[in-house]
């Protein structure tokens, strides 16, 4: 597996919506390279015949009756929002041109 470098970290930070300074990118790239190197052996541990486990105790078809349960009022749902207007979350422009 390829090592993780500074450009990778910059790309991943953009994908994860975390702004990072040059200094932070340098430090993070160094730390992550060590961590990624230490977990490499995992890819060699299991053969193709071993199935993956996503949940430790599988439950299937977890359904409930199709009835309305507890719902929050708009006021409750917006109670922690940094900004709201007219019972809606208010956000800055979605498009650059706006």
């Amino acid at each position: 597996m390829a090592a993780i470098n500074r450009d990778d970290v910059a790309h991943l930070a953009r994908l994860a919506h975390i702004e990072m300074s040059d200094q932070e990118l340098d430090r993070m790239a160094g730390e992550l390279a060590v961590i990624v190197d230490s977990v490499k052996s995992v890819s060699q541990a299991a053969g193709d015949d071993v199935p993956a486990t996503s949940h430790p105790i599988p439950l299937s078809n977890v359904f409930r009756e199709d009835v309305v349960g507890h719902t929050f009022t708009a006021e409750q749902a917006l109670s922690g929002a940094p900004d709201s207007d007219d019972n809606r979350f208010k956000v800055p422009a979605i498009l650059d041109e706006a």
Partner: protein
């Protein structure tokens, strides 16, 4: 009348008995703990286990229980056995009426509009909630140093870490600031703090305690569980919080019964207890290894059969965990984006788009460890790497489960040290993420496989006089076995020591005047 210094040192079970017998009131008990918090938690050299103290509500609940008891009749009869016994709650678990921060700046001052299911159950049992306890930010860490609100100190040595991520809950219980607490355990966050603070901590079988209202780190690994000073106390609390919850789709349909009864069984004769070859010896501190062997001797003398088992795939468990956990965390933490709750930070210059606001908010709101894990998880899940990383790690999970399955054909319960070392010094491993991750080497396999684990005090290490934890592991849904073996081992050890291990902890100096500190705690 019991003096308050004695009162706060009683077990939850003993407090419950005194409350039921009318020897003490819940208001007296709750006030005694609030006074203790005020005396030892704040200030420069305080334990800093609490992020918020919930004095008013806790005293109101206590007064309600006292009034019901005083009135007698059916309502008093129907009170839960732990009614009136106070408890602290890890600040990863949401509560109406108190802030929930998850130890992060991004949620500073946020109030949840709903209670976690476990909190609803505490309220139904009428247990006064003393407050919210400190943790590594979003439960990411093994030392509580990654909290945005300052580290918690270990009551055994204030210059050392209390473990993590639930260092606040463990330290609160160890410092007699609460008889009970709730924790969450994703890779050892209940058990490892229990080990290094000389307290008891249990990670129940995955799905046996509802996760609804626990802010998720890694959903397939997270589990809420009890923190206490005795094995019986954890069993009592486990029965309060356990059982099916339709609001958690991973919740097991049937409750685990007989946990308290198991803690009272009193014998381990004929039980097969398996030493896991891979989880002791090389890499474990000598004092930890010595105390581990003491416990094995005691169990053998009590009639248990000690067998050795091998779990060869545990060597890959830490690596698999540090791929699966960050992958799930990177997805779970995407919701903290400055839109629906918490912090919003605007970029200093340039276009004011939502993308740039999210980037600035998450840059300012998350600490380094959270950022590291989000980036690592984003990497492990990205196209081209998914099969090699996340896919391989999920296969290792199957191998770890198979190792447990094989081990449990020859042993009823497995045993190991909980952590490879005793508490290290604050700051010692802060700049070395990999060294920090190694603290969880013995606790992680249980989370990967979903099996229950319990840590109990096993004595003090020869070289530093600090607590050593002993970990017991059982097959899924067999949590009762942990309480049975744990309670027996605890009583054998206490007979040897001449009392509980925490009686050997140093006295904490009062950190400041009681009256003024209560006010400032409420404010912070």
């Amino acid at each position: 009348m019991t003096d308050t210094n004695t009162l706060i040192r009683l077990s939850a079970a003993a407090l419950a008995e005194k409350l039921a017998a009318g020897e003490v009131t819940s208001v007296e008990v709750t006030q005694a703990y609030l006074d203790r918090i005020a005396a030892v938690d704040g200030g420069e050299r305080g334990v800093n286990a609490f992020l918020h103290v919930n004095a008013e509500e806790a005293l109101a609940v206590a007064a309600e229980v006292d009034a019901i008891r005083a009135a007698g009749g059916a309502e008093a009869e129907a009170l839960h056995v732990l009614a009136g016994v106070p408890i602290a709650v890890k600040d990863l678990i949401v509560t109406i009426g108190q802030p929930t921060t998850a130890g992060s700046k991004i949620l500073e001052g946020w109030h949840s509009p709903y209670d976690a299911t476990v909190v609803e159950r505490l309220r139904a049992a009428k247990m006064p909630i003393l407050g919210k306890t400190n943790l590594d930010e979003f439960a990411m860490g093994s030392s509580t140093e990654h909290s945005a609100y300052g580290p918690t100190r270990n009551p055994w040595d204030l210059d050392r870490i209390p473990g993590g991520s639930g260092g606040g809950s463990a330290a609160a219980v160890a410092a007699f600031e609460a008889p009970l607490a709730l924790g969450t355990d994703t890779g050892g966050s209940i058990r490892q703090p229990g080990a290094v603070t000389g307290t008891v901590g249990v990670k129940p079988t995955y799905g046996s305690v509802s996760r609804y209202g626990a802010i998720a780190m890694a959903s397939s690994l997270d589990q809420i569980g009890p923190v206490s000073r005795t094995v019986l106390d954890s069993a009592l609390l486990h029965e309060v919080i356990g059982g099916h919850d339709p609001r958690d789709s991973t919740s097991l349909p049937d409750p685990l019964a007989g946990l308290v009864a198991a803690a009272k069984t009193g014998n381990v004769e004929g039980m097969r207890i398996g030493i896991i070859k891979e989880l002791h010896g090389e890499g474990y501190q000598a004092g930890v290894e010595n105390r581990f062997h003491d416990s094995l001797e005691l169990l053998k003398e009590a009639g248990a059969e000690i067998v050795e088992v091998s779990c060869p795939n545990f060597q890959y468990a830490l690596g698999a965990y540090y791929l699966i956990m960050p992958s799930e965390a990177s997805s779970n933490l995407a919701k903290f984006d400055g839109v629906r709750y918490g912090l919003r930070v605007l970029p200093e210059d340039g276009p004011m788009t939502i993308e740039r606001v999210m980037g600035a908010t998450r840059a300012a709101g998350f600490g380094d460890e959270v950022k590291r894990r989000i980036i690592l998880g984003t990497y492990a899940l990205s196209a081209g790497y998914y099969d090699a990383y996340y896919g391989s790690a999920q296969k290792v999970r199957t191998l770890v489960q198979r190792d447990f399955d094989a081990a449990f054909t020859v042993a009823d319960v497995l045993i190991s040290p909980t952590a490879p070392t005793t508490a290290f010094r604050l700051g010692e491993k802060l700049d070395d993420p990999l060294a920090m991750y190694l603290n969880d080497v013995a606790t992680i396999p249980a989370n990967l496989a979903g099996v229950p684990g319990l840590s109990l005090p096993g004595g003090l290490a020869d070289e530093d006089g600090l607590p050593v934890g002993i970990q017991l592991l059982a097959p899924a849904r067999e949590d009762a076995r942990l309480y049975r073996v744990g309670a027996v081992l605890e009583s054998l050890l206490e007979a040897k020591w001449g009392g509980p291990m925490l009686a050997q902890a140093p006295e904490l100096a009062a950190a400041g005047p009681v009256e003024t500190l209560v006010g400032s705690q409420e404010a912070k």
